[in-house]
């Protein structure tokens, strides 16, 4: 579904990604973790071309992201993305947030789009909030709406960029519950997160990044049981201790 091959990226002369290679198969859940500044958010943003990269290739569902001939809007419409800061559109109601891309990008009728949006809103437990504006919702609620907004596009896979990092602790679980449910339904997911409980529960594989490189790419059991690299061991020891 997602094939990342030898991807390198520089900001000027500073290299942020070094020769990253991995893949996410259909219905697979891959968790990307690592210290801050390790390039994990940058890597996931390369997958739907929100960030350009100078070397290597990324193929999503058979389409090369870096190919200048690729219709990026069309590709992105099929790849759901959830951001750290939710990024709901604050000037629109929740209903409009859910419907607008369906209408303007997929060409669905307004009624169909709203219907679909409300169904997904119900699924994330927020049906009663449909008429409100994002600013009237809590962070956890906004992030659930953001997930519903991405799902409304019928994505072939979902990218999560630290979806719980900006949330108060008591709201993290309501978002993770939605993500776990998605994983159980067979959604292909690539998640940048530090939530190791989530990784333990649903991940198939865990990728550990450090200084722009993929240091460890292992099945969940192997990663948590016996990480090969020392850096991953240190990282795990640090974040699992509390």
């Amino acid at each position: 579904m997602i094939e990342i091959k030898n991807v390198s990226k520089w900001y000027g002369s500073f290299q942020v990604l070094t020769d990253c290679t991995t893949q996410v198969s259909k219905s697979e859940v891959v968790v990307v973790c690592g210290p801050s500044g390790s390039g994990k958010s940058t890597l996931i943003k390369c997958v739907n071309a929100l960030e350009p990269f100078q070397q290597g290739s990324i193929v999503v569902n058979g389409i090369a992201v870096e190919d200048p001939k690729t219709d990026l809007p069309k590709l992105r419409a099929k790849v759901g993305m959830v951001f750290q800061n939710f990024e709901l559109f604050p000037h629109m109601t929740i209903t409009d947030n859910l419907a607008i891309a369906q209408i303007k990008v997929l060409g669905r009728g307004r009624e169909e789009a709203v219907d679909k949006g409300l169904k997904l809103l119900d699924r994330v437990g927020l049906k009663s909030q449909a008429a409100k504006f994002p600013g009237q919702l809590s962070g956890g609620q906004q992030q659930r709406v953001a997930i519903a907004r991405a799902l409304a596009m019928d994505p072939i896979c979902m990218l999560f960029d630290e979806p719980t990092s900006a949330l108060d602790p008591e709201m993290i679980n309501e978002v993770l519950d939605v993500m776990v449910q998605l994983a159980h339904e067979g959604m292909t997911m690539m998640c940048v997160t530090h939530e190791m409980g989530f990784a333990r529960k649903v991940a198939n594989r865990v990728i550990f990044m450090d200084r722009g490189a993929i240091v460890e790419d292992a099945a969940k059991e192997d990663f948590f049981g016996q990480p090969r690299s020392e850096r991953a061991q240190t990282f795990l020891a640090k974040i699992l201790n509390h």
Partner: protein, 226 residues
């Protein structure tokens, strides 16, 4: 001249009202046209295409560095010449008509700077979210960035419009009859400057003050809930 005689106002009210109507028409035209062109200029200035950046920067810098009166005069003289070059025959458009064009073009420079800071005030993540949903650049601007930028900047846009409304009086330089121009012409004939200019000042004050109160009201009405 010892006592005031305000009957000069009543006697010439129709002429003054006509001038006021013209002032308001030019204001509204230049506001709508100026915001439209100004938004396009702001998008050019912020685009990654260098010639567009230069064009927009040049446009804004030129019009912001030249006194408005001079622009009014220059356009009044130049537009008929340009039209003559295009159509091949003499086409005088008149002072009153040339002002619509001049103010729209001139105000666009100011509105574009307002829209530019409005666009820049929108977090990058909002643009990324637009793209991630499959929006094109145009759709991201139209549905995500500009509506928010416009709302954020509405008070400043309207304040600029109040200034524009007052600046219309400069058309006296080309002899067009706006509200102030009408008062001025009557004064020259009836020699009642105190009564006439006081009245004009009061009318300007009432309109501008009401508008600025409206700006405040509107601001709380359409502010984005955050």
């Amino acid at each position: 001249m010892s006592d005031f005689d305000f009957s000069v106002i009543a006697a010439n009210w129709a002429f003054l009202a006509e001038g006021l109507r013209y002032t308001l028409q030019v204001t509204v035209t230049a506001m709508l046209g100026g915001i439209l062109i100004g938004t396009l200029l702001a998008l050019m200035r912020l685009s990654s295409i260098v010639p567009l950046q230069w064009f927009a920067a040049g446009y804004v810098n030129v019009f912001r560095s030249v006194p408005l009166v001079q622009v009014i005069l220059a356009f009044y003289l130049i537009i008929p010449l340009v039209l003559q070059m295009i159509t091949g025959k003499s086409t005088p458009i008149g002072a009153a008509n040339s002002a619509y064009f001049t103010f729209t073009i001139f105000e666009a420079a100011y509105y574009s700077e307002i829209m530019r800071s409005g666009i820049q005030s929108i977090p990058k993540g909002q643009i990324a979210a637009g793209y991630a949903l499959g929006f094109t650049y145009g759709q991201t601007m139209r549905f995500v960035v500009l509506p928010q930028a416009f709302r954020n900047m509405l008070p400043v846009l309207l304040t600029q419009t109040i200034i524009l409304f007052q600046d219309i009086s400069l058309v006296y330089a080309i002899g067009a009859t706006d509200f102030f121009g009408a008062a001025d012409k009557i004064t020259q004939r009836d020699l009642r400057p105190v009564e006439m200019y006081t009245t004009v000042a009061v009318v300007y004050f009432v309109i501008c003050f009401t508008l600025s109160r409206l700006v405040k009201l509107l601001q709380s009405r359409i502010a984005i809930i955050r």
